[in-house]
């Protein structure tokens, strides 16, 4: 199997990663601990897109308010839809990033970075790129944590059960 095929076959890991972030953010009160022991706060912002892999183009876009609390979102999960895009709010220390993460590609779009302190062009470049690379590293840290669970059969079995239970509870009791 060539690399291209491997890339295509594993795109669902990105979509599963988004669902896992949503689940963990909800049950852990938005707090994640990275492998270096530092904590980040990650919350679903006001935009969530779910897509059906069975029926092409069947898409549920939930925006405004708290889409991750809506019954529609959990119903879409119950119907087998996967999370294709999710707007996230990520905080570490005093810094906050807001961005849309794409499941299939792990692209970051519409990223808002913390306010810059510098004015000069070259300093601005270093600061902007530093903040871009920092959020990228945080996402990688979270993805690494997800993979350590997803690729361990025992850990994943427990996680699976937790996710199914969570979806059922939320679909039954979430806000309209």
């Amino acid at each position: 199997m060539d690399t291209f095929e491997k890339i295509e076959r594993t795109r669902h890991f990105g979509e599963m990663f988004l669902l896992w972030l949503w689940y963990r953010s909800d049950i852990n009160d938005t707090v994640f601990y990275l492998s270096d022991g530092s904590a980040v706060i990650l919350a679903i912002d006001n935009q969530l897109t779910l897509e059906s892999k069975m029926t092409e183009m069947e898409r549920t876009v939930i925006s405004g308010g708290a889409p991750s609390d809506s019954r529609e979102a959990y119903e879409a999960l119950r119907q087998g839809k996967v999370v294709s895009h999710m707007k996230l709010r990520l905080q570490r220390d005093e810094k906050e990033w807001v961005f849309v993460l794409c499941g299939a590609t792990l692209d970051i779009s519409s990223l808002k970075i913390p306010a810059l302190m510098t004015k000069a062009d070259d300093e601005k470049l270093y600061e902007r790129m530093g903040l871009v690379e920092e959020v990228d590293a945080l996402i990688r840290g979270l993805y690494e944590q997800f993979l350590s669970i997803r690729l361990d059969p025992d850990k994943w079995k427990a996680e699976e059960a937790g996710i199914v239970d969570w979806i059922e509870r939320k679909a039954a009791g979430a806000e309209e």
Partner: protein, 220 residues
Amino acid sequence: MGSLEGGLSFRTFYVEGEPPNDFQEAYLAHLTNHFFEPLTPMGEEERSVGWVPTQDPIADGFRRDQVFFNQFIVFSMRIDKWALPAPWVKALTRQAIAERLPELEEKEAERQKAEGKLRPSAKLSKREKDKIKLEVITNIKHKILPAMKVIDVVWNISECTVRFWSTSQAVCDEFAELFEATFGLALHQDSPFLMAKQLGLEEKELDTMVNAEPWHPDFQ
């Protein structure tokens, strides 16, 4: 834009291969070899793609201090294309044909008469009409500027990553092709698989990923 100001939507690429020791000299020459070439009204090209300085996308060359910032190499991909106003092309072509029709018809009728046709019917050929349309388009191109798109590129040479400020698949593919042609280095777009590889997962774990089926919750 994106690296210095404006929106931040980007795709990450991994660069395969090491930069040479004199990479500043070599890469500046490579960028210059693939510098953007402007479109001209008389030219046949409808679209042009090449590299430009991020800080001055209409400059006619690179300065070293615009490109190298410690571990970062910064430049932009400029894409120009003629965006002709279709209603104007149509209206002006119709007008030009109407203006020249009597003269052209007269010539055609005379030619047919000379050939001995008793009832000459002169119609403007498709070729003639296309020629007039081309003249109209060239005139319009003299009056407008091409549509310009400038997309930033930031290459972190120590991390072997490139960030490209677009998430459009078609534009990303064109960028990767131009990058490879320019520097002779292969680029790979980030993905769940490549990110896992980059994180240092072992071959066995990567194989597990490849063989895993998509997970769907089972609500039995």
